[in-house]
Symmetry: C2
């Protein structure tokens, strides 16, 4: 069901400072910054092997990422799994008793369709599932 | 310098409950539990693609993982990069102004040699670097 780890989301306080640090740390070039309105975040990706580090900065004071940083400080925010079929993943894990967060919008970065498991289902960890446009039927 | 993401460390409160949840979530078989004395943790790994999720549970009340859980709750604890040469990585990043945590012991899980960057160097994120036995010269 899970193809691979797609990316690891990292909540930062200052996107431009973070981009400098992660360029140094990874030796990689970041992607262009992209704002994802549905998640109220600005993002930038650094590739490491075939996984990406996704820097995240909230665009609104009450966005989930801004609230995470206010509560816990900057830190690792979520893990995203790439899946072949998002709808099947949602059905299978829901049937197994796991709960998804608001499924009304599933717009992710880079044209993906995404869904998030509620951290209450997973012992406090936020997991995202992403279906890439090339995988869509 | 970085070969890939080796694993993502996840701090949990109850290892056996977590193993059940991650078996369901990933559809993968966990590794045998292993205690890493130098880090005061019990670990269990779940493969997802070529990256592993490392469940971590503190074995001592004042171990770094136990303190993380007490302060922030269970959550994603660190990201580990696989490197070819740990000593070169330490030298290069130290020269660039990043600070490593206590380099006195570098015993990791599965016979790896490891080092951790101080979160103060990285905007609050704990990064580990691991050299696998097969990579050692």
């Amino acid at each position: 069901m899970l193809k691979k780890i797609d990316h690891i989301g990292i909540a930062v306080t200052d996107m431009d400072v973070a981009i400098q640090k992660y360029s140094l740390l990874t030796g990689a070039e970041p992607s262009e910054k992209e704002t994802v309105d549905a998640q109220m975040v600005e993002t930038s990706f650094f590739p490491v092997g075939d996984v990406k580090l996704e820097l995240l900065s909230g665009t609104e004071k009450d966005s989930p990422v801004s609230r995470f940083v206010e509560k816990k400080g900057p830190g690792i925010h979520h893990i995203c799994f790439e899946v072949e079929d998002l709808d099947t993943t949602i059905k299978t894990l829901s049937a197994a008793g796991l709960t998804f967060i608001d499924l009304a919008s599933n717009q992710g970065a880079g044209g993906t369709r995404v869904a998030f498991l509620h951290p209450k289902s997973t012992g406090g960890i936020l997991f995202e599932f992403a279906e890439h446009p090339t995988d869509m039927k």
